[in-house]
Subunit: 140 residues, 2 copies
């Protein structure tokens, strides 16, 4: 049970932007160098972040990306959703279109998975990007 790298790198990259924020756009090249994430991969990730209005882009020679919201307002959940990272443990059986059929023995675990989803989602909902920056060491 783990988050995929796209989600993790997205959070990492946005945290990087928050740390190195200025009025200027932050280029993927800089993030790539600082965080050790492939530039090509970052492009793919930021495409989704842009589509989901987490960042906006500035094209051209001094271009890059800018956070749409302040780190204090940006929920981690929004980042994960932008990367299609649904927190879904899946109820009952794998392929059931309807998550439950009528037979209730098959649904013994159903409510439990729902609870788990709520538990995890509320964590991501409560955490803001700025929360990640709090405990880090002062020095770069």
């Amino acid at each position: 049970m783990k988050l995929n790298t796209k989600s993790r790198y997205a959070v990492m990259a946005l945290a990087d932007m928050a740390v190195f924020s200025s009025d200027d756009a932050v280029s993927l090249r800089d993030i790539s160098l600082r965080q050790g994430i492939s530039l090509l991969y970052l492009e793919q990730i930021f495409l989704k972040l842009k589509k989901n209005n987490i960042v906006k882009s500035v094209r051209g020679i001094n271009g890059g990306y800018i956070l749409v919201k302040s780190p204090k307002e940006l929920k981690i959940l929004d980042i994960l959703l932008a990367l299609d990272q649904k927190v879904k443990t899946i109820g009952c059986k794998k392929n059931s279109k309807k998550s439950c059929n009528g037979k209730s023995t098959k649904c013994i675990t159903h409510n439990f998975w729902d609870e788990l989803d709520i538990h995890i989602n509320s964590f991501f909902e409560s955490k803001k990007l700025s929360d990640l920056l709090k405990n880090r060491e002062a020095r770069i």
Copy 2:
């Protein structure tokens, strides 16, 4: 971010055992029929549950499996651990042997993933098998 089927089926199967508990062992054949899970697959799952002392087996013609602990004492976490289902979101980068190297910018997200793990693990730690049975409908 989801639990694999082995883990989910394990919880489902054990919940089934708890519901249909008696002094006798419960056969995998019965669980398979009731829960619609492949018998062969259940065998693989129960092998691990047995190795990890979640169930004990009774061989022979009226054999099957018996819960080692009562559902009230059996933590969901123990079940997941038996299936190798570590709740590890992975810190920092994928392949780093040491989860952090000295450069602290790379560890911006590190504490956050740790917090997430703790959050999820404490959920599984607090929930017992008996908790799954509470809300289910009275009728089979």
